[in-house]
Structure formats: C-alpha cells, structure tokens
C-alpha cells in the first residue's frame, strides 16, 4: 500500500466539479478544501497505481497542478533495508 498526501491546486475555487471528480476516485480521501487548494490522501495498491492516479488527477479539467507533501514508504521499501545490510 502506498500512502501519499497531496495538495491539488485548482483554477477556480468555486469549481465543485474538480472536488466531485476527486471524491469519486477510489482511494482518495479529501480533506478540508482551502480556497483554491484541496488537500487529500491517496492510497493506492502499489507504486504504479499511485503514479497513475497522480497523473489522472493532474489531467482533470480545472486542475492547475498537484504537489506531493507526504509519502509513507511501503513495506517493500523497508524490505530493501534488510537486503542492504553488510554481507561481511
């Protein structure tokens, strides 16, 4: 599971379409909308799905940009720590 915190900037703060579109997306939990910026948490099964969702959000009409502000490492990444321990 990949957990990211995103801030989506939108062109028009009054535009409800973007928020509705985001809300309907699986794995997205919206935070409290602050003017032209929408905070959200994106949970995806894996990195590929996370990246895809990010791209989909970015391509939504009315979206200016998507900033990532938080990333929780998945268990795979933690597993790499074990692999990188000294071998001698």
């Amino acid at each position: 599971m990949v957990i990211s915190g995103l801030v989506v900037k939108i062109e028009d703060p009054r535009q409800a379409d973007v928020a509705n579109a985001l809300e309907s997306h699986r794995g997205i939990t919206l935070g409290e909308i602050d003017g032209a910026r929408i905070p959200l948490v994106l949970e995806a099964d894996d990195d590929r799905a996370s990246r895809l969702a990010h791209d989909q959000i970015e391509s939504l009409p009315g979206v200016v940009s998507v900033d990532v502000v938080f990333c929780g490492f998945d268990d795979d990444a933690a597993g790499l720590v074990e692999q990188s321990q000294p071998t001698s």
């Binding site: 957990i3 915190g5 032209a36 910026r37 990532v68 938080f70 490492f73 990188s84 000294p86 071998t87």
Partner: protein
C-alpha cells in the same frame, strides 16, 4: 503494528496536506498519538539546489516516511516527486558496504586500514600529481576538509568540483558584474515579481517547488506573467504566457537586442545607471583594441561606446540571428522599459553550460542593471543551482582550482597568508599557482604520463564523472590501460566511475551523517545524522582526515601545522585531542561543527557571513550575510546590496556594490557580442543535440534509479524527436534510433510525443541513464572564462538503428 503504522501514515499524510493547503506554517504534521514511535527530524532534501526542507521519519533505525517541512521558508511544506521519495535513495539493494581494491583486474574486499594505506602510499609517491575531484553535493565540512588537505597540507591546487560543469559560468558572471559571487536576490523575488523570465530554464522539472510557488500565486488570482525563452518546448512552457523559441546560442543576441531598444527608446533607467553602474567590454571586442586586459574583468568603455556596440542588434537583426520574431523582442524590451513592473530573471544550465556562458550571464545582469530592475523585491537576476551545495561548498568554501575559502584566490598573496594564519601553517605553504580545472584535470589523468599526463592519482568524492563529464572517451575512458594511473572513488553505489576505479570507498550518505548544505539563495542548512550507514560505509570527511593522518604517519611534512600538530587536530571540551582519524572515535565529537566553526571566520571578508553552527541547528537554514543584532539574535539578509535590507550597505547609499571590481561601489554593465557556436549542424550532422535532466531523475541517476517509484516513472533514457522530423523519417514512437556525433554514437528509443517538444532539426537526450551515456556524444568545448563545458548544443545525425547497433547500445 502494520495497521498502526498505516493508520499513522494516513493521518500524517492528511495532516500534512491540510496544513500545506492552508499554508499554515504553525500546523504540525506530527501525530499526538503517544503510540507513535516514529522519530522526526529536519534535513534539507538531498537533490537539487532549491534547498527544500523535509521532515525525516525514522523508526527502528530506518527512514520510513518523508514529509515536506511546514516550517521551511523555501518549500512551505511542499515537495516534488523526487523530494518525497528521497528516503528511498538510502535503500537500494546494491549499496557499497566495504572498501574494494582492484587486484588482478577485479575489485576485491579489503579492510579500511589497507584501503587508506594503499591510497596514502599512492599520494606519497607523487603528491604534486595527486588531484581531488569533488562536488556541489559535498557538504560544507566535506569540501572544507578536502580544501585544507590539498591547499593547506599538500600545497597542491589540483582540486576542482563537478560544479565546474554546472555553475562556473554563473560564478564568473556574478564576479565580473558585482565583484563578488552569488545572487543579490532570493526566492522571495518569486513571490513579488510581476514578470518572471526563464532564460533556458525548465523550472517546472528542475526546480519544481519554486515553480509551484509561482503557480500558487496564479492560483490565488495574482497576475504573474511568465516568459519562457528556450530552444525546446518543455513542461514549463505549458504554464507560460509567452514562449520565445530561439536558435541555440542566440540568447546573446536577444539580450543585446533588449539593451539596444532600451537605449534607442531612451527607456533605460538613467538615474540607476549614472549612480550605480559602469560599462565594460569583453576584451576580445574592445573598440579601442587595448591589449593585456584580464578576461574576467574586461576593459572599461564609455556609455557612448556601449551604445554603439549594441546598436547593430536591432529587433530585425536579432530575429535574423535567433529566429525570435522582432515583435517579441520589442515586447520583452517594453517589459524592461516599464519601471512599474517587477521583473525577475532565472536561469540554470541553459545559460551556464554555454560556450559563452560567462558572457550570457553578464548580459542578463546587464539588462537588469540598465533598466533599473534590480535591488527591489521582485526585481532581480537570479541563477538557480542544480546541486544542493554548489553554492555552499564549491563557491563559498571555494573548492575550485583557483580559489580559497570565503571568496579568496590562491593567486593573491594576502589571501594565502590569511588562510595560512587561520590554519596555523608556515608562511608560503599554500601554492600561488592555480591548479587544473575539471576538464584539464581529467585530460591530464587520461593522457599517458610520458605524453604530458601529469596527474597520476585522482580521488573522486560524491560525484560520478564517468557519466557526467563531456566527451567521455577522451576525458574518462582513456584511463583504461594506463597502468600508472590510480583512481580512487568514494560513493554509495556502483557507478560508471567505479567501473574504472582502482580503489572504491563505501560512503555514508545524506542523513547517515551530519551535514551542512548551502542552497541557491545563500541559505546555509544544517542537519544531524539520523540513521546509521550500512556495513562499513563511512563519512567522506572522515576519509579525508584518515588519509591526511596516514600521510602524516608516512612522513609528509604538510600534514603538520607550524607547531607540529596534525592539521586536522580536534579537541574536546577539556582541550584533549580526539583521534578523529579513527572511525570509532569520529563521532566522539561533532566534527562538522568543529570544521564549520573553523571555516566561519573566513566568510566575513567578502561579507558572506554565515551563522554559527548552533544557530543553524535551530533554523531551517539562514541566508547570509547573517549578522548578530544588539539583542543577540541573528538576522539573515534577503536582498544584498540594497540599503533597506543589507546591513553592509552604508546609510544613504540606497544601492552599494561594496565589492565592485572598479572600487567605486558600482556594478558593471557588460557588452559581449553574439558569436556563432563552435559546432553547428551541417550536411553531415544536420541536427542540434541538447542534453539535460528530467523531473523524476537527478543528475546521473545513481540515486533516483534506485528508487522504484522514480525508476518506474522514467525507466530509461530516450531521444526526443520533433513530430515533423519523425514523420519525414517515417519514425514511430519507441523505435530505436542511432544518434551520432563526431565523438561517438548511441542507440536509444525515440520519443516523438514526449514531455518536451524540440523544434524541427533538434533532438534532446537526458543524461540520467548510466546504460545510455549521452556524454559519449557531447562536446568538450568550454567557456573561455569559466572553463565550463557546453552540454546544450552540438551537431548530430539520426537514423534507424540496426539490430547490431541496438544490441551494442
């Protein structure tokens, strides 16, 4: 525990996003949940020169989360895609964990004692043929230790950083204009400007958080006009109101065209120019034909001479040279002619990696000075750095072949004496002759000794020249087969450079060690070690000190000061020497703090006063000059040379260039002409080849290619091809092409509808992929003043690759 961690991460993600959306710097992302056992601490991001701060979450000795730091002025909680994966760079499965020495052609494990001894013996055999090749990713103490070892210990100036490949032209531009390096403005200009001009600067991919800062203003309804001047459409272009597509190298003509119009229309800022500026010319184009001028400082000219020199650059002539329509040149000039606007120019490699890099830097400073768009928030010409401490280490510590710390030069006797005094060295220890700059250093190393190749051993730290140098065959791979040449490489992963190394030293990286960086806006940033390095990996500063100590044991006299003490002698609170050359004692004291505090007095001569270490600990970086106030607090400076903010400007002066090269508090407005590039497309090689970076990868990809998410996003290099060119050649997306230049060839897939859109006759290849090394193709021509190579333009040809060529890569 897994569920707890997931819940915690989810809550932290939402708290961070909400705080960032509200831009509430006081909102903490830390969980108040007492069950949370993740430890958080600050660190600057490891990648570019923006200098974003992250919060690093550590659990069980591992980095498990990264968050944008809400308290950081630079990024206000935001991160780019690389930044939020920065923790992953520590955990690639092939970390180097023990020293390796080449024996019978193979790298074999050895102990640290043997590694340091073999290394020291090589240096002892020919100390004057030893060179140190460092980095803008060196922390300040790492660079300072290397500098002291070489110049103060070995009396050897063959030390240069990879910053020579990226920032040297910016340095010479600043010095020849203002008499002192580094920008007068800062990122606050991005918050205040009405017009942002990007000179060959793909900010949305290279400095995305800064670009986001500008877009954020637009999202809030503020008017910010963004003008992109470039040689190919990029991700940045999408967000710009104007795109001025120019032929490579012709920015020189565009800048002169603006200057010409400002004068012709009588629209320059006469008061500013008369009070604060002189005029200067590139000595090769001196109208008076005077001889003997220093190329860095040029020759003085009058305003009338300057006016006559820019006169030929009419909008129509600039259009003929650059391809940018005359109307757009006029529009740009009108922007500069409007005193009500605040104009910020930014640039990075587009202007620096340029055969006339110093001159184009000078010209852009010049149009800001000529128009008076300088010295007020939002009015600034500002270079951005590509590496996290190109400014802090390479430029401020002065780890260049001609420099000493704090803006000093090896050629100046008084500067040498100042360093000798601080380092308690006998007079005359520091050599007054500049050493070899990067390209020359590697050329000498890769040339047989009996043919003049007088560099025999190189120590590489924190960089990957085997991939990043231009013309790789000549400057790197020709080392193969030269048996008397010895290459020592400190790194964290196997790289193109370790492939040819004779000794590989495993290094600690980022939060596996203490560190201090200096970012693009003069901000010095400190962090503490937060996790242990894997295996036998150790700090680069320790390696330098251990080498120095072994050299002392072998009898090198330069490793002692004039009292007979080790040049890196470090004592504890009781004044007792701590044997920091022994790894087990290295962290008995804070060596970073000791070296930084030793270095700090050297920063005041050029008014680059950095803050005390203990003050940095409490901040997310401070911008120098940092000056103590009567109440004991330390105040940073946002706008240098401006009376309202810079404490070193005398009262009533308004603007004072107090390190003026003409000793009259004035900056220099330069003239330099457009000159054709050294290599241009012709019948044989009809395309322009440009190289660069992409959002997801940083430099040679040694770190980002080990992060699954980033590697998956852009898994390999490619060649961007213009759609019309592709149609004409009947090319399909993904088809393997062979790109050839006069120096080499490379097979790689075509990207026709990619993120970047080159114009007809131009191709672009990123340099992050170690399997597809574009620098086999690039030119080693350098700017004659800065000695920085030009990676942005050379002539190439393109055709479909055969199966054999694809197999060869």
């Amino acid at each position: 525990m897994r569920v707890d961690r997931r819940s915690f991460l989810r809550a932290s993600a939402m708290a961070t996003a909400t705080a960032a959306a509200a831009a509430d710097a006081t909102a903490a992302f830390r969980s108040e949940n007492p069950a949370d056992d993740i430890q958080w601490d600050k660190a600057p991001c490891r990648f570019c020169g923006t200098g974003c701060h992250v919060q690093v979450g550590v659990q069980g000795g591992k980095v498990v989360a990264i968050a944008g730091d809400q308290q950081a002025d630079v990024n206000k909680g935001l991160l780019c895609v690389k930044g939020y994966h920065v923790g992953g760079i520590l955990y690639g499965p092939d970390r180097l964990t023990q020293p390796l020495l080449r024996k019978n052609g193979e790298l074999a494990p050895v102990t640290w004692d043997e590694a340091i001894d073999v290394f020291a013996q090589k240096v002892m055999a020919a100390p004057d043929r030893f060179a140190f090749y460092g980095s803008g990713q060196w922390t300040i103490p790492e660079g300072y230790a290397a500098q002291k070892l070489m110049k103060g210990g070995l009396s050897n100036n063959h030390i240069d950083p990879n910053a020579r490949l990226c920032m040297a032209s910016a340095v010479t531009g600043f010095i020849s204009t203002y008499g002192v390096d580094e920008p007068a403005g800062c990122y606050d200009d991005l918050d205040a400007c009405d017009v942002l001009i990007l000179w060959g600067n793909n900010m949305s991919e290279m400095h995305p958080v800064l670009f986001s800062r500008v877009l954020d203003r637009k999202a809030k309804g503020e008017t910010v006009e963004i003008i992109d001047i470039g040689t190919r459409r990029t991700r940045t272009t999408r967000y710009c109101q104007h795109y001025l597509e120019m032929r490579p190298h012709t920015d020189l003509a565009i800048a002169n065209g603006i200057a010409h119009l400002l004068i012709e229309k009588d629209a320059f800022d006469k008061r500013f120019v008369e009070q604060f500026c002189n005029f200067r010319v590139d000595p090769n184009f001196d109208p008076q034909n005077r001889e003997g001028a220093n190329p860095l400082f040029g020759s003085p000219i009058s305003f009338d001479e300057y006016k006559a020199l820019v006169k030929p650059y009419t909008p129509e002539e600039v259009e003929r040279i650059s391809g940018v329509p005359a109307a757009k040149i006029r529009y740009l000039a009108e922007r500069f002619a409007n005193p009500k606007l605040r104009i910020t120019s930014t640039w990075c490699m587009g202007m620096n990696q340029h055969q006339r890099g110093t001159n184009i830097n000078r010209l852009v400073h010049g149009i800001h000075l000529l128009s008076g768009h300088f010295g007020k928030p939002g009015d600034a010409p500002t270079s951005l750095t590509g590496q996290p401490s190109a400014c802090g280490t390479a430029r401020e510590v002065g780890t260049l072949a001609h420099a000493l710390p704090g803006g000093r030069l090896v050629a100046k006797p008084e500067h040498r004496q100042q360093c000798e005094a601080l380092w308690n060295l006998p007079e005359g220890r520091i050599n007054g002759a500049p050493g070899y700059h990067t390209v020359l250093m590697w050329e000498k190393f890769c040339t047989p000794t009996d043919e003049g190749g007088d560099i025999s051993t190189i120590f590489v730290q924190v960089t990957n020249p085997g991939q990043s140098l231009p013309d790789l065959q000549k400057l790197f791979r020709n080392k193969q087969g030269l048996e008397d040449k010895f290459l020592v490489v400190s790194d964290v992963y196997p790289t193109a450079t370790t492939e040819l190394a004779d000794l590989v030293l495993p290094a600690a990286m980022w939060v596996e060690k203490n560190g201090i960086f200096g970012n693009s806006e003069r901000r010095t940033q400190q962090w503490f070690r937060q996790v242990m390095p894997p295996g036998e990996a150790r700090d680069d500063t320790w390696m330098t000190i251990a080498l120095a100590h072994r050299l002392m044991e072998l009898g090198h006299p330069g490793m002692k000061d004039k009292d007979g003490n080790f040049i890196f002698r470090t004592t504890d609170e009781d004044g007792k020497e701590v044997p920091i050359w022994e790894w087990k004692h290295y962290y008995d004291i804070n060596v970073d703090r000791a070296l930084y505090e030793e270095y700090r007095p050297l920063t005041t001569m050029k008014h680059k006063n950095v803050a005390p270490y203990d003050v940095l600990v409490e901040h997310r970086g401070l911008r120098w000059p940092v000056v103590q106030q009567p109440d004991g607090s330390w105040r940073e400076t946002r706008f240098r040379f401006s009376e309202f903010d810079d404490p070193f400007v005398e009262k009533g002066k308004e603007i004072q260039f107090y390190h003026s090269t003409t000793d009259d508090d004035r900056a220099q407005i330069w003239f330099a002409p457009y000159e054709p590039p050294i290599e241009e497309p012709d019948d044989e090689y009809p395309f322009w080849l440009c190289t660069g970076r992409v959002l997801e990868h940083w430099h040679t990809g040694t770190m980002t290619m080990r992060v699954k998410q980033l590697r998956d996003a852009i898994p390999q290099a490619y060649v961007e091809v213009n759609r019309e060119d592709a149609r004409e050649m009947n090319l399909r997306n993904g088809e393997q092409l062979l790109v050839e230049t006069r120096r080499g060839k490379l097979a790689l897939p075509a990207w026709i509808r990619g993120r970047g859109q080159p114009p007809r006759g131009t191709i672009f290849i990123p340099f992050f992929d170690e399997r597809l090394r574009v620098n086999d193709l690039t030119l080693n021509a350098t700017c004659p003043v800065s000695k920085e190579p030009d990676y942005k333009k050379c002539a190439a040809r393109v055709r479909r690759a055969s199966f054999t060529e694809i197999a060869k890569g």
